[in-house]
Subunit: 238 residues, 2 copies
DNA sequence: CGGTCGCTTGACTAAGGTCAAACGAGGTGG
DNA sequence: CCACCTCGTTTGACCTTAGTCAAGCGACCG
């Protein structure tokens, strides 16, 4: 966690690495960069709120964002964590126009964003961008559908294991090796992600810590024995 | 349920009504129609299978299709029912290329489809089509996310009520009035849709039938008291 | 030093899943 | 035409999972 300076060329590079501009000539990438607004935000602040008119599309360059949905009955669920390089709030620009969930920074973050007008113009002028968006949304859809099936058929323990494994994968190749999840995760987050209560999540996680499956330093979680966790996730174990 | 003749102008009209070609000039629509293959299928046959290389994108013109996902552990969940005018199997053409679920006709159906090459060319040449796809997928994503939250936080009874209400809405404005769900629904379908077991679904449904909330004729379900059902879905009742 | 926040832990409970059995309708073949 | 079988469904008895209620702990912050 070294001191990090905000350099323009870093943000440019980060934006170029987005799936959004995959396969586009560098001229277009430059244009996308020029249209972007970059905000440097502390942790725990709201980026967009559920139900509001969609004005902008966002991408996380540095840090992490929590996407949480709250139902009409007040129950809330954590839809996903956004890691660097991923986008959020983009779909609402194309549909009814209301954000379907809340987004807040889970740690100090750099967030790039584009106005609705600019973003729509980009997709109209560069079909490849539209296709890239379809790819990203499709990936998300597949992911959510998988979780839906798991939620319907698997035990709380399995779902928690899946949630952790997903987070590790999301953290990128480097972390996937070591198993460190570089996002501050509260028990409550894990619970909402896996669709259980804070209490059962706590019980399961502390049990796994005692068994040496997990380790915790500060707010971060580290998966020590991913293969075992994977077996638990598939119901082959305990 | 009158005898139905397959007339080319009917299929043309049905394809023109797809969200896919919304906002496009009729010349393009004609082109889309010319590229479509239309299959007339009996009920209960497979249209595409999970895990197969995505070759085509599909749309239901007449009838209904069941989209079912099966996990590595064998547990299966009904992702959604496809009503006339909706598409399926489209996203896989843009992502990895494997269908994420099975699709089978739930009743005799007319299915339009386009080859991968044609479909991708269409989206490249007509950005509006790509944007329409994003809209459709976005809608789906929002829907699945809502169900995910419900699955995590609500009771089995509430989820079943939600599933029925969703089906009624899907059946179109005419049916929404009368409350008839014009799709053959087995108990098992309802159960998989709501993420419960066949048994609890049966218990709940027969209880509702006895209470006059539902009626059943042949394989179809009819919702007699939608407002009451809606209150159950929101947990205000029983 | 008190307050808040996040976490842990225990005891209890109920929702709903599992197991088991049987029924009715529809279709098929003897 | 009837016997039989299959498939979808119903219903009961039981039991496990995981949610609820309640209490206490430790850490961090002002």
């Amino acid at each position: 966690m070294s001191e990090q300076k905000t350099r323009p060329e870093d943000t440019a590079k980060a934006i170029c690495a987005l799936d959004l501009v995959k396969g586009l000539p560098s001229g277009v990438k430059a244009h996308v960069i020029s249209l972007a607004r970059v905000d440097v935000l502390p942790g725990g602040v709201s980026v967009l709120t559920q139900g509001a008119q969609a004005q902008r599309a966002y991408a996380v360059l540095v840090g992490a964002v929590r996407i949480r949905q709250i139902g009409s009955d007040g129950a809330q669920a954590l839809m996903r964590m956004i890691a660097p390089g991923e986008m959020f709030g983009t779909v609402a620009l194309f549909t009814e126009g209301y954000y379907p969930a809340d987004a807040e920074t889970a740690m100090p973050s750099h967030i790039a964003s584009w106005s609705k007008a600019d973003f729509l113009a980009l997709t109209m002028n560069h079909p490849q961008i539209a296709i890239n968006i379809i790819g990203m949304v499709g990936q998300r859809l597949a992911n959510v559908q998988n979780r839906l099936r798991e939620m319907a058929t698997q035990s709380a323990e399995q779902r928690i294991a899946h949630a952790l494994l997903m987070l590790v994968e999301q953290s990128g190749a480097v972390q996937a090796e070591t198993g460190v999840i570089c996002v501050p995760l509260r028990r409550r987050d894990v619970a909402e992600l896996a669709g259980t209560t804070l209490h059962t999540a706590s019980r399961v996680l502390t049990a796994w810590e005692k068994a040496g499956l997990l380790a915790r330093s500060r707010q971060m979680l580290a998966v020590r024995d991913a293969s075992r966790l994977r077996r638990i996730a598939q119901g082959e174990l305990s």
